[in-house]
């Protein structure tokens, strides 16, 4: 991802999008929809909000493609868009976090083994704990664990230094460990 510039196929795709070709938009959407939605969902922990964030991200992507100059990798540019959309949504509206999400998921699958239920419960608790982190810390955690980005890549996406990324991640870990220590 850190390699600046585009592959030929991707460059042609972007050019087609700039010309307003609808099919090209669809191809671009298919290539990045899961990444965008995953970040939105893991950041917001709300499916409806994640849909709003993903929609905003793609609309922003399609409308601002002419401004993309290829200075950074295209995926970095998309990550920036989704990160900004997440943080914008965070600023605009807040909601009551659905902490019972894990419980509902558990009730939906009564046939699961006890172990699976415990794992599911643990995942819900971890996600709930992640939700309590500050937006900047949470985004670093999501980019690291959902997308598997390196410190360098996260720094490029978030416009900060690698040291800041490491510091945020370290503080996030400590905060999460404190919250989950009773589990």
């Amino acid at each position: 991802m850190t390699q600046a510039g585009l592959e030929t196929g991707e460059r042609e795709l972007i050019e087609a999008c700039r010309r307003g070709e609808r099919d090209a938009f669809r191809v671009l959407f298919e290539a990045y929809k899961d990444k965008v939605y995953s970040i939105a969902l893991r950041f917001s922990a709300d499916e409806s909000l994640a849909m709003d964030i993903a929609q905003d991200t793609f609309l922003k992507l399609f409308s601002s493609l002419p401004q993309y100059r290829g200075d950074s990798a295209f995926s970095t540019w998309i990550y920036r868009l989704v990160v900004n959309a997440c943080l914008d949504h965070k600023r605009r509206a807040w909601r009551v976090a659905p902490l019972a999400e894990g419980l509902i998921a558990m009730l939906r699958s009564p046939g699961d083994s006890l172990n699976a239920l415990l794992e599911s419960e643990m995942r819900s608790r971890v996600r709930a704990a992640v939700e309590t982190l500050s937006p900047d810390m949470r985004m670093v955690v999501v980019l690291r664990y959902t997308e598997g980005l390196s410190y360098e890549e996260i720094a490029e996406v978030m416009g900060c230094s690698e040291g800041t990324v490491a510091s945020r991640l370290n503080r996030a870990h400590k905060a999460l460990e404190r919250k989950l220590s009773h589990v």
């Binding site: 700039r18 929809k33 995953s38 409308s63 002419p66 971890v126 999460l176 989950l180």
Partner: protein
Amino acid sequence: MSDWMDLQLAHSLTPVKAPDALWSRINGMPEPARPRWQHSFRRGTLSAVAAAVLVLLVRATAVELRPPHDDFVANSPVPAKKWLAHEAPVQKVRLEVSSVPSENGCKNCHTL
């Protein structure tokens, strides 16, 4: 940073598939905005065409409003008579213009 925490985060924050409804939502939105230069280019083209049409209309109107071209101009009846005799094969012409004092003219110079 504990391995346990690392593992828990990796398990809990796995990527997910985007719902199919996402494309429907995006597809239902208005067409993506065209680049600004395309807007200005199109606007400029339309302006140029509109200006050209306006110029043509003004010119056509000016032509319509212009007085009809005179076939012949004279300040006395004699050349008028000659011209009429030449252009339309008539020999006897009576001029009734306000500048002519009477039907027979002034008898000196305007007698036909």
